[in-house]
Each structure stands twice: as C-alpha cells, then as structure tokens.
Point group: C2
Chain length 576, copies 2
C-alpha cells in the first residue's frame, strides 16, 4: 500500500493553499476592476509559475511546485477533478429549453458565430500548420490539427459571457437574451465538435479505423446522455429527493453521475470533462433539480475547485520563453474577426440594428477558460507546440477582458451603480443621537450635499416633503427616507445610526436605529425603484436585520448588506 | 513535468465514483434504519475493500483499487484533503461560548467523561501493551502507546452525538444541552491531547529532546490559534465580506486558512487535520461568519469529501483476517465502561436523577469516525498492530449504533414521528374531483380510518366541527383541515389533490387543489402544533408551493416537501 508521506502531505496542502490564495486574490482584484474573476485566476498561475516567480526566484518556485513526485500527482488529480466539475457546472447552466425556443436572431447568431470561426480556423490551420504551431512530427494528421484550430477559435465561454451581461445590466434585454441563447447553442455544439477532435487525436494512435470508432462512440454517448440519461435523471430525482436525506442524497447522486460520465468519456479516448459536461446538461435540464443543490455545487466548484485548476494551468508554461509575437497577434485577430464578425452578421440577419448587432458580436467574443482548456489538452497530447498554447491562452484572456468595455462603448452605456457601490464610509454617521426625524434628515442631507453637488437645504426639503406624505419607517428599527431629485447626476445613499432610536413613522411604531437616506436622479425612476427594492429585499431577511443592528463598524454594516440573500433568477450565474 | 495519464484519470474517477456511491448508498440505508450515516459510510469501505469484495472477487477488487500508482496517490490526496476538511467542519461546530458557560453538570460530565477513560486506557495500555496490540519493535516508548490508548478511549464524536440527540428530539432538553456542552469540551481537550501523542510519536524519531519541542510547538500553536488567529479572523471577516464577492471571497479565505493550518501542523509532526480543526474553531467562533457559508462548506464536505475519506479507510484493512475476538471485546467493554461510567458519574454529581444521568452517559458514548481516524494514524505510524486498528474500528461503529436505541430505552421514549414519515403512498388520493369541502373531508377520513384505527364518521365529524369554526384554507390553493382526536394513538396525515379545486374557505377565496388532512392524538398538543408548523413553514416557500402543485406523482409530491427549506437553528447539524 502506497500512502502519501508526511512531507508529501505538507507539500500538497502548501501547493493547494498557494494556488487557491493567489487565484482568489487576483480574481477578486479583477472583479474590483469590473473584469471577469476567471482572468485573475488564470493570471495567478502565471505569477506563481515559471513565467514570473520562476524568473524571480527559480529555486523557491521549483521547491514550492516541484511538478513531480506524489504531492504534485495529488495536486494534478485534484485539478483534474476540478476541471471535470467546472464543466459539470457549465453543463448545469445549459438551458436546453432556450436552445429549443431559439428565435431567428439567436439561430443566426449561434450558427454563424460557430461556422465562421470554425471555417476560418480549419482553412488556415490546413494551409499553414507550421505557422500556427502544429507539431508535425507527432503523427497526427493535418486534418486533426486544422479542425482543432477551427474549434479553438469558435467556442464561447458561457459563464464569462453571463457575468459580463449581468455587470452591464443587459442580461434580461433583447441583446442579452440573444447572446445567451446563441452562446448556449455554441457551447453545446462546440464541445461536441471538440470531443470529436479529441477522439481523432486518441484514435490516431490505434490506426485510421479506430478514429471512426471513437467518433461513433462520442456521438452515441452524446445521444445517450441527451435522451436516456436525461430521462432517467428526471425520473429518478423525485424518488431520491423524497427518500434520501436532503440535499445530501441528491448531491451525492449527481456527483457520482458526473464522475462516472467522466470516466466513461476518458476511457473512450475523449477527455473526462466532456462526460462531466454532458452529465451536467442532463441533470440541469430536469425541473426536479432544485436551485439549492445547484447553488451548493456551484459555490464550491467556482470558489474552490475551479480556481485551483485555473491557477495550475499557468504552472505548466513559461509564457515569456514561448511568446511568438506574430503568432499571438494573428491568433488574436483571427479569433476576434471570426467570432465578432460571425455573431454580428447573424444578429444583423435576425433584424438587429448595426450598433446592437456589433454589441452582440462583442458579447460572444469572450473565451474565458474554455479555449485554454482546449489548448492545454492539445499541448499535452502533443498536437500543438508551446507557442500555440501561449497564443491561445493570451487570446482567451484578452477577449475576456475587452468584451465588457467594448460592449459598453458600442451601446453607449454609462457605469451603472450597484447598491454596494453606494455604501461608502464617507457617507456614514455612526450616531445621530436622540433627535427628531426632521433633524436626522437635515444631518444626513448635509452629508449628502457634497456627493450630490446640491445645496443641503434643497435635499432636506425634498426628502421631508416625501416623508410628510407617507412615513418611510420600514418597521423593525429601520427607516428609508428617499426622494428623486431633479438635477441630481447619480444616486447617493447616506447611512446614519442612532443608539437611542429616531421616531420615524412606521408600521410597528418602533423608533428607527438605522436610517438610510436615498437620493436618486429624477429622470431615473427605474434605477430608484431598483435600489429601494434591493435594500428592502435584503432587509427582509431576519439574519441580515440582526447583523445590521449588531454591526459595530462601517465595515461590519457593509458586510451585513453584502452577505444578505438577494433572491432572484440572476443569483445562480452571478458568481461565474 | 509529471501528469496523470489517461488510464490514471479513468482509474481516479472510477475509484472516486465507487467510493462515493457505496458510501452514500449505505449512509442513506443507515439513515433509514435511524442510524448515523457515518456508520454506513465506514461500512462501504469494508464492503469494497479486502474484507468483503476482496474475498469474493480478489482480482476485480485489486484492479478497481490497486492501492498504488498515480491514480491511488491522487485518491489518497483527495481523501487526505477530505479528512482535513472534515475536521475543519467539526471545528466550525465547536461553540466556545458553550464551553465558557458550562454549568456544574456539564463541567463534571465533560471532565469525568475525559478523565476516566483516559486514565483507564493509559493504565491498561501501560500494563499490557502486548495484549492491546502495541508494536513493541518500532522504537516508540511504552508511554506513547499507553497515552494513545487512553486518548483513543476518551474522545467523543460530536457530529454523531448531535445527530442522535436531534433524532430523539432531545437536542434542546437539559439532557441534550449537557451532552452537547460536555462533548464540545471533550472534543477540544481530547484533540489537543491526541496531537501531543502524535507529537511524541513524531518526535521520537529525532530523540527525546525533540519530543518536548513538538509538544511545546503543539501547545503554542493551539494557544496562537485560540487567541491571535481567532481575533484576526474576527477582525478581517467583515472587511472580506464587505469588499469581496459573496460568498466566494469568504469561502476562499477560510479554505486557504484551513489548508495553511493543516500544512503547519503536519510540518510540526502532528497531523494536518489538527491544524484544520483549530482553524475551524477560530473561524466558527466569529459572529461574522455567516450561516450560509457554513452551510455550503458543510454540505460539500459531509456529502462529498468525508464519505470518500471514510470509505477509503475500509480499503486499508482486512477485518476478518485481523479480527482478534478477546481484544475486540475488551476494547469495546473498556470504551463503554469508561465513557458511560465517567459521563454518568459527572451528571449524577451535577444533580441529574439516575435515569437521566445514565442517558447522558449513553449519549456521550458515540465514537463516530474520530476513534477510527486516531487508530488509522497510529497504525500508519507503526504504533499499533492491525488487530488493534480493527478493534478500534469496530468499537467506534458499535458505540455509534447502540447510542440512540439505548438512550431511548433509558428515558422510556417512544418513536417520534417526523413529518416525512407521515407522508405515505397508501394515504394519498390522486384526484378527489370537484366536490364540496365536506365531501372531500369524508373521503380523506375514510382513508385515514384504517391507519387511525377509528371509525371514519368519528374522524370526519371531528374535522368538520373544527372546519366550521374556522376555515382551514391556507390560500394559494392549499387547505389543511385538522383535528386532535381523543383515543388516537399516533398522528395520521392524508393527502388529497383535486384538479378542479375544492371550495375550502381561505383568505384568498381561491379553491384548494391540495388538501392535507392532519389528525393528532388529543393528548399531544405540542406534537400537533409542530406538525402544523412544519407543514406551513415548508409551504411558505414559493418554490415549494410551485413544486407541490406541479407534482405529477406521489413521489414528486413527497420530494417537494422533503426538499423544502426548513428554517431553524437545527438545520446546520441535521446532516452530520
């Protein structure tokens, strides 16, 4: 019996901690810059790997990540499980219903966003394999490489796209719906195409007839997952949820399913992650699969497993040493031209005006982690050189970073303020004391005046007029005086607290210990209502109210709001 | 760069799937027998390992679990991370406040439940190391073995104990509170004592002075975690929760903390899991650490990581080949005598009457997975023979299984019916049709009659009398007619549905499509109210109402109730 020795265990835990810490920190940093966290998680590996740390302190880097021996095997095993679970979660998000309901615009966008980059990549990969980093000596056929390059240019990254749309508040618009439906279609078909390429790579080792066997197996397995497995899961979920512990029973069941499907596809010569993806699609399609189970898996995978996998990628390559300028520029240009061009054309054909069609193309252009995973597999299988892997990695990071800002520009959007952006230490009064509601409003209006760029009396008068019409005490010790103010440029939220309580008129007649003064521009009634709704929804949760009242500092108060449950359909993709 | 090859990846996924599937299935089986799931999860490994599968199909067993090579190293790595996270979760559950507030009874119970088995085990381990399976040739001092045996008899398993108390509905009683406080104290002190024994084992390799260094390091690290780390976590959590994504930021932070603490203790020569446990105590003590984060970690660890670790234990030992009858019987008898005796004496001293003191002792006696983990570490470190490991494993399983039934007997409790036990296919009417509310009650009362052992007219009349006093329509298409009936032995719940709707009087005047007829014994008003509350609480959730109305079969209806959110303080331990 072989076991990890004590030194291996130390190494394993230190490597996992370093990868997870760096990935989460840089991921959060990117989030603060309004960029997709996945970009930071990939950068973390580049920082910890040969590219940065390996150049600064090669001995230390090598000691931290030996890349061989039992501790590294264990890290690699965990990262492998991590990428399978990441694809399982991506599969859960696929809405087959949306694919079935696809309108003309979404069909055109999805089909052209796949077909054009696929054709472009396959043609160029066939014509100039040497330039595009094909390993010519490895015995792979030129067609395999050409198809790989086509697929690598054409798969979009749904989770990153969804996150970008949510950030821009476009998720529920026409543009957003078309992008999401098209990306779903693109993801599903693209992964099937990629699994065929993988099958060809695997099959070549055993001769030409074996390639067709693998392709047939892939298509057969896909069909079986989409029909038999999907029906079986749908039939068995109610039984599991009614007889077994909740959510332990269903959690164990779907994880076992994901692991078995992974093992099956890996054994067929495709990668484990493809099976996990199909298992995710089959599970996620059942209406019996409940939100809380999805949420638990999603949180743990996106915040623990996926960052470890994503950061581990950067350990495997020295970007500086394998940076080929012309190749990087060409791959990047082809990827953008193919995807933006294809998706925009499709959207135009579907009837969108030019600006919005362009925005749809820019939205589809995010590659997230998907192209990197493809590149890593091809690199490890000896199909492409390190230079091409680096080019794909940089293309994926670049397209993900530029998607949001360019879409915003194409549509002429401003920065939308989120509730959490409004809570600022400078707009906080620790203790208003035992004063009248009028006096409290005056004090808070005085504080708001500078941020609002308006005289305090005008603010106070507007708020007070509203307050006299209808009391804004919400009950349970909280008041939310508010007004829409002509001439105000952007919303302002001032927070005051009072140990003694302030007599705002409220349903339960109790004095208010927390006063939230909200000012919104008069010409943005929707934004105003959304902020009010966001505040009251959070304060509706008893645990949040308790945390709010208990908060001793501004940070604790802010944390109480940040961690409050925000119910709604978007919650499930908000962390991607 | 070493990577897992395709065959290793297949092996890894198949092994994980087999371990998880067997562990969850047997765990659920145990749950249905009202036994702790952890027992089933341990049995799963015994079934898949050399003890059962290895005797039936040795070639297949060896192919499935080769116990060597990259795929096994990866499984072992995941199991190692799993046990560290399991202890981290156990640490999160430690309520330092409860330890500080300990009353006389809890102090006595905790102290004697630790001291008596510890003394007993140490003394006998010192006197007869050979009989108790000490490895005399390995260079460990006799004192190390004696202390190990003492500790192995004296640590209680808090999660199993909590689950048993909840099942018996004793969690919030005096008996339950004393057992939980004493178990918390016992867990905390017991693990510190065990880490010292581990330090002694590790230190011996480097000479006697090194033993003291390790002990000093252990105590210093423990003190640092309980003071500095605890304060730092408490100070930094609001900042993280207010600035970073939620719950991703805090999830990543606490996992990194757990991994680093694990690496630190492993490097000191104690086991990684001790560091994870202390990190859990430090994190769980902060009021800023929110329930949802705890819940996400808890669900994923108890349903994915822990079962894999627990099942992997059984792979490492052939119980039949190393079964030493006298040793097993003696260890079992000593463990029970020490723990039940010690805890009962302490509870008597604290003022509990004999029956309840005995119940407290029986409650503390569950060993769960903890003694098995201790035994495994000692076995792998060469301190004990396989026979002793088997004896500890069987003792842990045996004490966990017998705790619930014996407590019930000592206190003279009956089986308490849970809501989910009341929902039975025989008490379900698929379509009542378009009838009056009186007629619907008659039909449901007829069905209830056999289960209740009472004539249908008497039931229908009682329910109708109540119905005429006050309409029991809850609104939203659901009615809950109910009555407390003299002479009824146990509660009965009959469920009827109606596609057309039945005119029960309800706040929204809407007809009822789901009718829940609840009958409770007249002499159990509390049980009646609890069932009503449990039903209405679940139906208060919009997603549950939707699932209930959509359910096409009885299983789907039952699943809708089973997966409904049940808010309450007990939720967090209910899955242990």
């Amino acid at each position: 019996m072989e076991n990890l020795q004590s030194a291996d265990v130390v190494g394993l835990f230190v490597q996992l901690a370093a990868l997870l810490a760096a990935a989460r920190l840089l991921g959060e940093g990117m989030r603060m810059l309004r960029q997709p966290p996945v970009v930071g998680e990939i950068l973390a590996g580049i920082v910890l790997g040969p590219t940065v740390l390996g150049h600064i302190a090669p001995g230390f880097q090598k000691a931290l990540f030996p890349m061989e021996g039992p501790s590294w095997i264990a890290v690699d095993g965990i990262a492998t499980v991590g990428v399978a679970l990441l694809l399982f979660v991506a599969g859960l998000e696929i809405d087959l219903g949306a694919v079935r309901r696809l309108g003309r615009a979404a069909v055109g966008t999805g089909a052209l966003a796949l077909a054009i980059p696929l054709t472009l990549g396959t043609a160029l990969g066939w014509l100039a394999p040497g330039f595009f980093g094909a390993v010519t000596s490895a015995g792979h056929s030129p067609l395999t490489f050409a198809l790989f390059f086509g697929v690598a240019l054409s798969i979009a990254a749904m989770p990153v796209i969804a996150k970008t749309l949510i950030d821009l508040d476009l998720f529920r618009t026409d543009v957003g719906m078309v992008v999401m439906s098209a990306a779903t279609f693109n993801d599903l078909v693209g992964w099937i195409a990629f699994s065929i390429v993988l099958g060809m790579m695997g099959g070549e080792a055993h001769g030409a007839s074996s390639v067709w066997v693998t392709i047939a197996l892939t298509l057969g397995f896909t069909a079986a997952c989409m029909t038999l497995l999907r029906a079986a899961v749908h039939a068995v979920l109610p039984w599991i949820q009614s007889r077994m512990s909740w959510p332990g029973g269903v959690l164990g069941f779907v994880l076992v399913l994901a692991l078995l499907a992974s093992a099956a596809t890996e054994a067929m010569g495709i990668h484990a992650m493809f099976g996990a993806f199909l298992a995710g699609v089959a599970v996620g399609d059942s209406v019996h699969f409940r939100e809380r189970t999805r949420e638990t898996i999603h949180q743990f995978v996106t915040n623990a497993f996926a960052p470890i996998f994503l950061a581990a990628i950067g350990l495997k390559v020295d970007i500086l040493a394998h940076f080929d300028g012309p190749l990087v520029a060409t791959v990047f240009a082809l990827a953008c031209a193919g995807m933006i061009g294809g998706a925009s054309l499709g959207a135009r054909w579907g009837g969108f005006p030019p600006r919005e069609a362009l925005a749809i193309g820019l939205g589809m252009n995010s590659r997230g982690a998907m192209e990197i995973i493809l590149g890593l597999l091809a690199f490890q299988a000896g199909l492409i050189r390190e230079t091409m892997f680096v080019a794909l990695l940089l293309m994926a990071v670049g397209t993900s970073v530029m998607s949001g800002p360019l879409m915003k520009r194409a549509l002429g959007l401003g920065n939308r303020k989120q509730l959490m952006d409004l809570l600022r230490p400078a707009l906080y009064v620790k203790d208003l004391g035992a004063v009248s509601s009028r006096r409290a409003i005056d004090v808070l209006a005085g504080l708001a005046s500078k941020a609002a760029g308006l005289p305090p009396e005008r603010i106070a008068d507007e708020v007070w007029r509203r307050e006299e019409e209808v009391g804004t005490g919400l009950g349970q010790g909280i008041a939310l005086p508010h007004a829409r103010i002509p001439g105000l440029k952007r919303p302002v939220l001032v927070v005051g607290r009072s140990a003694e309580g302030i007599p705002f008129s409220s349903p339960d007649q109790a004095p208010s210990h927390l006063v939230l003064l909200l000012l919104s521009p008069a010409d943005d009634p929707v934004g105003h209502l959304e902020t009010v709704a966001s505040l009251t929804r959070r304060l509706h949760d008893p645990a949040t109210r308790e945390a709010v009242h208990r908060a001793a500092t501004f940070d604790e108060l802010r944390a109480a709001f940040a961690t409050a449950p925000e119910h709604g359909a978007m919650a499930k993709v908000a962390v991607s």
